[in-house]
Symmetry: T
Subunit: 143 residues, 12 copies
């Protein structure tokens, strides 16, 4: 079982800046946890971060053979219909993940253009949001 994990814009700063919102853990630490957990769940994980919308779209296009995409779209959550279309086109189950609870922050963060084409959404649990998504992926792929 292959899973693509995509970290959207500014997530490379996780654990370095605005820790009160996004948590103490750095992105490479989160990635380590993901790889560990993935191994336990028998997953082949591919992890990717970019601040470029176009590169994320390209990467999704190449991911058409994976079993699941876990994506934290960062601020693209709120306006990138292009990423939404890319995800919809690749017809792989998508799990949307957020470090913070986007519904308890600024108003513009309450609306996701990605969630209507996702299987599910997990938000607000910091790095745990990703780990829970891995477990959810197992179940989604079974179906």
């Amino acid at each position: 079982m292959k899973v693509l994990v995509i970290h959207g814009p500014n997530l490379n700063l996780t654990g370095l800046r605005e820790k009160e919102i996004y948590g103490q853990m750095k992105l490479e630490e989160i990635n380590s946890l993901l790889l560990d957990k993935g191994k336990k769940l028998g997953m082949e994980l591919d992890i990717y971060q970019s601040n470029h919308e176009g590169e994320i779209i390209d990467r999704i296009h190449q991911a058409m053979e994976v079993d699941c995409i876990i994506i934290n779209p960062g601020a693209f959550t709120h306006y990138s219909f292009a990423i939404r279309d890319a995800l919809a086109a690749c017809q792989v189950p998508v799990i949307e993940v957020h470090l913070s609870n986007i519904y308890a922050r600024e108003k513009f963060r309450h609306h996701s253009v990605i969630s209507p084409i996702a299987k599910g959404q997990i938000s607000g649990f910091g790095y745990l949001s990703y780990l829970l998504a891995l477990e959810a992926a197992v179940e989604l792929v079974k179906k």
Copy 2:
């Protein structure tokens, strides 16, 4: 560690009706899974279902000593400011859970009055949404 799990209105019908939306598993089966997993995680689980807003509020008031509340507010998600206030008042970490992806359904389901006072939200993974919430609860209580 004590956790209160609340199933809101109409969830007693889970697995009996509209299975294409809410899944095949009955509520008692989901509850069994929850109790099993809770045991493994060293949790004391208290599970409650009601179709009555007032009863849910009363139950939340009695839950002030628990470590975490996991709630699937059902249709109350969209208008019960009274449940929101009850949850906010009891000052226990709250996890909002949905069987279906509420953001991929009718427009009125896209807005939750509960999520601004929740720690996080998990929606769209059927019965698994609850199980993931149990894991998240462990982490939330640690902090």
Copy 3:
């Protein structure tokens, strides 16, 4: 043929208060007329009134074996997504009934959260709205 008739909140006051809006006839008188007409149409009528949203939901859940539900949701018309979900779940044809013409009253009464899942709606004819609904029920059940 079994029909459940539900009178929502404040309908127990019909014919006692605000008669210029809701008419002169008391609820028990309306119920008598309904039982008479039901008998003529060969129906077994079950009539229920409650001011409690939760009780109405419970009652609907128990009504899964009836052939038709006629409901005047009173003020719940405008916000009870929980009753809507209960009605949708029980998958029985639903007829929405109002004593007054809700579209000629205050703005908040112009929107019904029930009607999208109803087969049809009859409003504005006082007690007659219910009687017409009984006739419509015959037709709906035939199909």
Copy 4:
């Protein structure tokens, strides 16, 4: 007792097109049923269909002496303030009728500019909506 029945635009296609929405019965068949029922109720029925807003207004103006107007305004329901004004001016009780449940269809069909000046509205019961309106007319005229 004289009743004018007005069928608005495109209703001449009833039973010929989009039968899954509007039903199997042709307009002339509905009209026969109406005439039969009208006779039983001791009514003199005048039935009129037009796709022209202006002609419908003219017809309403000529109807000032009738006891009741039953109108299915078709798509004019949603924007013809001119028909609304004509109906209001003639000061005869008006019953608004729809074959389909307009509140369960496209959003633009949820708003009627006619209903604020109608006595009541019956929608969603196919040809039966008209027959029920005839019965309601009897009651309205009594008052």
Copy 5:
């Protein structure tokens, strides 16, 4: 002179939780003050608290013989059209009361569905809001 005082949902927690918003004084203490002041003003006070919308409606129906209703509808302020209808039906002067200034809090608290049918509204003075309402009641009943 008889006055019914209704405390809505979560007000049983007053003085126990979120004291920075709702004040230090417990509900029973507020009730004592009310009874004292009521006695001085020659009033017979009936004080009622419930977290159940339906029970509040039932209680209002029984209160048709009182001279005034003072209600703090809590979160029901913002959506319970059913309580509004119950209050309107009983045709007794209503005074709406809030501990906190609802207009200086979250946006959803700025709109009351109760106030259009109330005589007046007092908000933001903590337990004093209730005491001032008692004085206002004297005046309203005089008229």
Copy 6:
């Protein structure tokens, strides 16, 4: 100087119905006053009434040689972009007239789709609105 006066839908009922809104004077009486005043002002008046949007458009198209159009669009005021386009196309100065003050009536009457292409608007003075428009026409044509 030639002036076309257009009376829109339902204006043939002026002075016959809803006199408390539109005044006591019948349309033919208003027309007589208009013809008298027109004669005094040296105008050749052409007066036209129709309940048909299409006929009004046709009539405007034929009016391309007149010096001014005075139009009371009745309910077409609020939605007939087709009449607006016809008036704009004929490039003759247009004066919009209303018997009643449309800004003091129902909300839907507050917006005119005609006024952005009119030179000016006179509303609320009953039959006098037309007479004042004739005087204004003299001035507009001078320019």
Copy 7:
């Protein structure tokens, strides 16, 4: 017959600035025309201009004995609820006047807070708007 004519803010610049919008004629010239016409109509005219909302309100309060108020509220048209209340309180017929057609200009000018309490409105005819208002005043006072 006494008439108060009020020119609102910036109208002292009429004929001096932005002539393409407000016309070539200076305010004193318009006032002369008004006085002439007023004399012919047997009116006692009181003309007042101010850029101060408070002064206009004070002036309206003093005008309670006049037979009619003609007001061009200038930019106050769009937000001065205080002037609206002053006009409503003095219970004298009010005619709202505008030099330009406010409905053909910027969006914020399309809404008048004054017109709901006015008898009628005349806009778009330059200085003639005022003269027509004088004639309308004669008629209004007759009633």
Copy 8:
């Protein structure tokens, strides 16, 4: 292959008025080009113009046997739900055409009630919009 071409209200003025918006070519010239091109494409063209909504609806009803309808609804684009229903009912592929780019003009022209039931839309190319539609029709009918 039979194609009905409908020109909506005011299109009879094309090439005569507002040429800067709609172009220099007269409607009959456009029609000649259409007939020529139709002949080359092996089409039987029926061309119809009306300023009457009702007549356009009638014409569409008679067109049920054609292979494609090309319609420039003019101002009806923005509000004629009746024409939309007529087109939807006749279940023939519809191509919506506009001389000008409606999305670069006044705001009210940005919304078409016709396009949701059309196969496609061509706007902004003057008379060429129609000719391109003829070519598109060939392709649509093939499918």
Copy 9:
């Protein structure tokens, strides 16, 4: 204890005009009652009325040494952000008062730009609103 009482625009007409809305009592009578009650409560009252927004702001600036400001902003309630800023700047507790229940009147009166910076609001009790505010002031100043 010093209290500044401000009466906003048009309140000088209280008891003279629109008594059905604002009550029978004249402003000077209300002021007498206020002075009496103030004396009993050991307050030094300064009472001020103006129809001029600027004068009210100036007066508030001079009031920086008072213990409480009671203000009935009249129509300024709905748009005077300048008065709001003045009140916020002076950092004295503010009580907003209304004679009528502003939430039961025209829609534009439902929104107050003042209340977000007030401690509390009392509306709907006529002159009593002011007297209750005096009592509330005592409590506010204590804190």
Copy 10:
């Protein structure tokens, strides 16, 4: 005559994914058809696809010498004001093209930020939309 054809994000998947929406034909096939038709029309075609907004902007900047730009902006249609500005700046006629009828799909696709600066728009005809655009380009460049 030089024409730049731009395919926006995800269009590289045309004919590979979601064929029921975007059609069976692959992008290279569409491009072949375009090149063929371009040759016949005497055009020099430059065809470009990118999923990167920035690259599309760069490409447009380099295209300032072409005679026409045909762009299918894909999901950028709905939010890329940057592409809009680039197109506006290069002051070359722009034709907006869509494979599907964007007005018959999800609500967010109904609004194009590109169309106000385009000469025209063609949507809904699959690959034919592009071919029709080539023909339109010939005409646009002539002017």
Copy 11:
């Protein structure tokens, strides 16, 4: 070169109140800095503060001979269309200045009715906003 500097309502309190928002410097200190800088730039500065909208309008009218107006409209920014009209009428270049960043404060402060008629806007730099405006004025007048 003559420049008029206008400080709107409540700006006389700058440096005295709410220093965390508006800064530590008093208005007279800011004015000294302005006069100094003005002298260096060869400007004749006229500085004016008022809390009265009408006085500010009067002052603008007298300023028609200046070369530039620098205005901090304070709370009038958000609703004084009368000041906007005064500024537009005087046809002198206008620079809008704010001490605080109005776009990072309450929602109602995000909209300025003045800026559409200003040449430019400087907000958020405390007293420096004014000094930068003086420099900008030099440039604007050059053009």
Copy 12:
């Protein structure tokens, strides 16, 4: 003192295209002026232009050690929440700059998603906007 200056999309065309909006001066000329002024103010300037949102984000991430960022986000102003987040994360004072007065242009340009996290904004002064920002930067860094 180090300052990063970022020019957003299409700003490389400044002085080449749409000079009536953005001015005559080319970007390199503006940059020269900036470098000159920066030198005088003792600043080390780093100037960067890109049409790629992702590249701008990357560049901001690298700029965490600068003392101030001056950014003209071009069209990204209106939707790039990703750039906003990048700027917020780097926690360096940000000055938002625009060549044109964005509040006097198309409606979509009136809203900036960047300004809530900026210290201040300067718009409308052409190249001078940047130079003024340099001066403001000196002051911001002092604090």
